[in-house]
């Protein structure tokens, strides 16, 4: 089954890349962009067929490797 993990910076962690994107959008004439935060998306294809088990495994993957939980949040979506 397919799954998707979104990783975003925690609130309060300064995101210089987001700031640079925000600045570039302003340069292109997109007004009113009040904040930009950059994250990453990881798409996985799992052999597991039980969505609950897949979600538990994904959570462990996030805690152990995919996210740095000191500075990042993650959200898991099992797409089926």
């Amino acid at each position: 089954m397919k799954a998707r993990v979104d990783i975003t910076l925690k609130n309060g962690v300064l995101d210089p890349q987001g700031k640079a994107i925000q600045h570039a959008l302003g340069t292109l004439g997109f007004g009113g962009v009040e904040a930009v935060r950059q994250g990453k998306v990881i798409e996985l294809d799992l052999a597991e067929t039980d969505p609950a088990k897949a979600e538990a495994t994904l959570k462990e993957m996030c805690e152990k490797l995919l996210a740095n939980t000191v500075i990042e949040n993650y959200s898991i979506e099992v797409l089926g």
Partner: protein, 224 residues
Amino acid sequence: MKSAVIVFPGSNCDRDLAIGLERASGRPAEMVWHKEASLPEGLDVVALPGGFSFGDYLRCGAIAARMPIMQAVVDFANKGGHVIGVCNGFQVLIESGLLPGALMRNSNLKFVCKDVELITTTANSPFTNTLQKGQRLTVPVAHHDGNYIADSDLLFKLQSEDRIAFRYADNPNGSVDNIAGILSENRRVLGMMPHPERLNDPALGGNDGSHIFESLVKGLMVPA
């Protein structure tokens, strides 16, 4: 002093680090490939080199920190072993949980590659005991992700426990409190972004970096 340098795919300061350790101790460092599951017997120091392990994929140091040898390095540190991580090695130490905080993209988003002035912030460590508090060293930095982040609780802890080893005189990357290197709680693990092994020979412009290796030899008080 018996030392080992861990080598990951993409490490590029491993040989310089080995020379730094060898010059100070008079004994060649063992090079240990990351796929090994154990360290050589009887080590005093493990060194994690700079470079771009695993292409900096996912997060700098993240993949390297999960390689088999790192469990052995964590066990070694937890038993009181001395570990130094430079640049990418510092990132690996943080990703492996041996040092707290995080290293993020430099605040100006630029790769910074130049000599910087460091201020020795504590002489009370096995890595800085031949230096004086406040002593300035010139050491190169070369990194894109050296912006040290700590929340206010952690920063207070590092400050009050005298665990900031070095500060930048002129902050090149946005690190909180100008932090260039930190120590573990037991003071035996040092992570630093600047490269002492790259300024360790007068022919290359100076040898300020040698103090750190000489401190280790003195601090361990073991025969070469």
